[in-house]
């Protein structure tokens, strides 16, 4: 029981634990936190945001004495937003002996890694990936820090109702995450008595979506919800406007990216909105946090930086409360968390491992070409 001995020395680190006793099973080495993130591929920009957010949390926790007397070591592996690469990367993390997983950006790439981490008895706090499929996998060791597809669809429906959409057109890009969000949106929109004028699926990684644009205009829609990623979203927005569409173009969080405005072109950013989780610059009172982030990385924090930061903190808190890295104990401790302060508000997990409040807002493209807060949907 090395940790017990360590606890006697570093009293401050252990005194934070309220419920859990200091009966850790960790050996003296650092606690390895594994993170799968897209460090290459079209989503690689987000990989850096995740990695930086997580490293910041790790540095802070370590500076404050670590968890149960052990320092945290963050190991980042590239999943390339690709299921095959992700499975290999997850196996690599497991073989390196990670005790916790705090990664996962693309839902399609994260889903096949769930059984691998379960097999290895590794609890997971997923910072960004938020497909309902992750929830439906029904694994007790999986917790989602980002709002789910259902919660995001809810935000999209309230925005559609608020903007008095008469005919809605839904488009997905045939990936897990996108179809899932579109399904959820369609279901909730119908339940809210909104008219769904059409639904289509496009093939990602192409350039020409004039066929889809044509469908939007012929459906006489005045509200489009596209649930895929930014490259396709930006191309579709431009081409549908060239085809004569002038209604609202709402995109899911995968398409909310600074490149959207660049690809779609400056003249085409009108009426473009997105459903998105709050980023640091939209939050009140995050100035100090942003300043320390900038000091450490020399760049502005971006989307999912806060979620990755919170994922590490939540996981560390779970391990601390459990007093051990045993998966069942950590899972129980995470489920017992109530009111732990995170960027998306006081944290409480539902029995499915999702956040009890989603925190989605509506963003729009500002004068600088980046997405800014439009409506927090609270009022």
């Amino acid at each position: 029981m090395l940790a017990a001995a360590a606890c006697a020395i570093t009293v401050t680190a252990c005194s934070g634990g309220v419920a859990g006793g200091p009966q850790a099973t960790t050996s003296g080495g650092p606690l390895k936190f594994g993170m799968l993130a897209p460090m290459s591929g079209s989503e690689s920009a987000f990989g850096d945001y995740l990695k930086n957010g997580a490293s910041l949390a790790v540095a802070e926790i370590n500076a404050a004495g670590g968890v149960n007397g052990s320092q945290i070591e963050l190991i980042v592996e590239d999943d390339g937003c690709d299921p095959t690469t992700a499975v290999a990367a997850a196996n690599k993390l497991v073989s390196q002996g990670v005790v916790a997983s705090v990664g996962g950006y693309c839902s399609g790439a994260t889903l096949p890694t769930l059984p691998i981490f379960l097999e290895a008895k590794v609890p997971m706090v997923i910072p960004a990936a938020n497909s309902n499929a992750l929830v439906e996998a029904g694994q007790a060791n999986v917790f989602l820090i980002n709002g789910t597809g259902t919660q995001q669809a809810q935000a999209a429906v309230s925005f559609a109702t608020k903007s008095k959409a008469a005919r809605i057109f839904i488009l997905d890009d045939s990936t897990d995450y996108s179809v899932d969000l579109a399904d959820s949106f369609e279901e909730q929109a119908k339940a809210a008595n909104l008219t769904v004028a059409g639904r289509a699926t496009l093939t990602p990684k192409e350039k020409d979506y004039s066929g889809e644009a044509n469908k939007i205009t012929t459906s006489k829609a005045d509200f489009v919800y596209f649930t895929g990623y930014y490259q396709e979203g930006a191309l579709l927005n431009r081409q549908s406007k060239d085809a004569g569409y002038d209604g609202i173009f709402l995109v899911g969080d995968g398409a909310v990216d600074a490149s959207f405005a660049k690809i779609t072109g400056a003249d085409y950013t009108k009426n473009v909105f997105g459903t998105f989780t709050q980023t640091p610059d939209m939050l009140e009172g995050a100035d100090n946090w942003i300043a320390s982030y900038k000091a450490k990385f020399g760049a502005e924090p971006g989307p999912y930086t806060t979620q990755a930061y919170d994922a590490v903190r939540v996981m560390a808190e779970g391990i601390k409360q459990a007093g051990s890295t045993d998966m069942d104990k950590v899972v129980a401790a995470l489920n017992a968390l109530d009111g732990f302060a995170t960027f998306s508000g006081p944290l409480k997990f539902t029995d499915k491992g999702t956040l009890s409040s989603g925190g989605f807002v509506i963003v729009t493209i500002g004068p600088a070409g980046t997405f800014i807060l439009h409506d927090d949907l609270l009022g």
Binding site: S174, A200, K207, G211, Q231, S259, G265
Partner: protein, 297 residues
């Protein structure tokens, strides 16, 4: 329906430009140049480098500026094509057909992942955008930019047809396509002519790449992959080795896809268009113009 057909013709003209190079190369040395789609991607990136490298170049967003850019990209991509032939294909000219096919696949990967290493994997926003007002043709919306791009494509194809059919170099190309040994005996410089074919074919693909970048606004290192396969398909539908066949094949494939998207949905588009092709080739294996025109090229 008019809108569907116009969309199809527009995409089809890109397929046709890329298919021409495929078809010409096959016609002259019976090689399926799998790296050809990547020359389209290379053309787009060369345009990107020129635009970001010369300050102020991207500000002159007009059709004449685009034409200059297209010329530069054509020249450079053409030279790349010549170099690729020299390095990866010429040394294997008398090697078994399969070996050359593999060097072509290798070249394709080299170009794709080489570009990825240099420019990164994320899609790049194109600095030059062509846009213009919308005009209505038979009840369909089409932008001035689309019309001008289709005109440029048509012009390039017309020049090519003239070059191959009416000039001395063109005659040499057709002669080699018929019988390269006999052509050598007649005093034709075979290596030089083959280089010319690679130059012209690659230049056309490069032109298509720049135009796609400027019109759609985003480029990525894999953009040549799917268009390469589709252009190859177009060349086969048209009757591979036949110039007019490649043009016709490109337009046909574009139209099939547009109709497929409209009828059965975007996710079924490729299923629809390729099922049609399988059927078509079952009944007419030589392609649209393959049998009628015996002379290749």
């Amino acid at each position: 329906m008019a809108q569907v057909l116009l969309n199809g013709l527009f995409v089809g003209s890109f397929y046709a430009l890329v298919a021409l190079g495929y078809s010409m190369v096959y016609g002259i040395i019976k090689l399926l140049n799998f790296a050809h789609g990547d020359l389209y991607m290379l053309g787009a990136y060369i345009g990107f480098v020129v635009l970001t490298g010369i300050p102020g170049a991207a500000e002159v967003a007009s059709v004449p500026a685009l034409l200059v850019l297209v010329m530069i990209a054509m020249l450079t991509t053409g030279l790349f094509g010549v170099a690729i032939e020299r390095v990866a294909y010429r040394p294997l000219r008398w090697a078994p057909r399969l070996s050359v096919l593999i060097t072509a696949v290798g070249m394709s990967f080299t170009l794709e992942y080489g570009i990825r290493q240099i420019f990164g994997a994320s899609p790049k926003a194109y600095p030059l955008r062509i846009s213009g007002g919308l005009v209505s043709v038979l009840g369909a919306q089409i932008s001035v930019a689309q019309i001008s791009l289709m005109l440029v494509a048509a012009l390039l194809m017309a020049v090519l047809a003239f070059y191959v059919n009416r000039t001395r170099e063109g005659r040499a190309m057709r002669a080699i396509a018929l019988d390269s040994r006999a052509s050598t005996l007649m005093g034709i410089d075979v290596n030089r002519t083959i280089s010319r074919v690679f130059f012209v074919g690659s230049a056309l693909a490069g032109a298509a790449g720049v135009m796609a970048g400027a019109f759609y606004g985003s480029i990525d290192f894999m953009m040549g992959f799917s268009i390469g396969l589709k252009a190859f398909t177009a060349a086969v539908i048209g009757g591979i080795g036949n110039l007019y066949g490649a043009m016709l094949g490109g337009l046909t494939l574009g139209l099939l896809e547009a109709v497929g998207t409209a009828w059965v949905g975007g996710e079924w588009r490729d299923v629809f268009s390729f099922a049609c092709l399988i059927l078509f080739l079952t009944f007419r294996p030589t392609g649209l113009l393959g049998a009628r025109v015996v002379e290749r090229m």
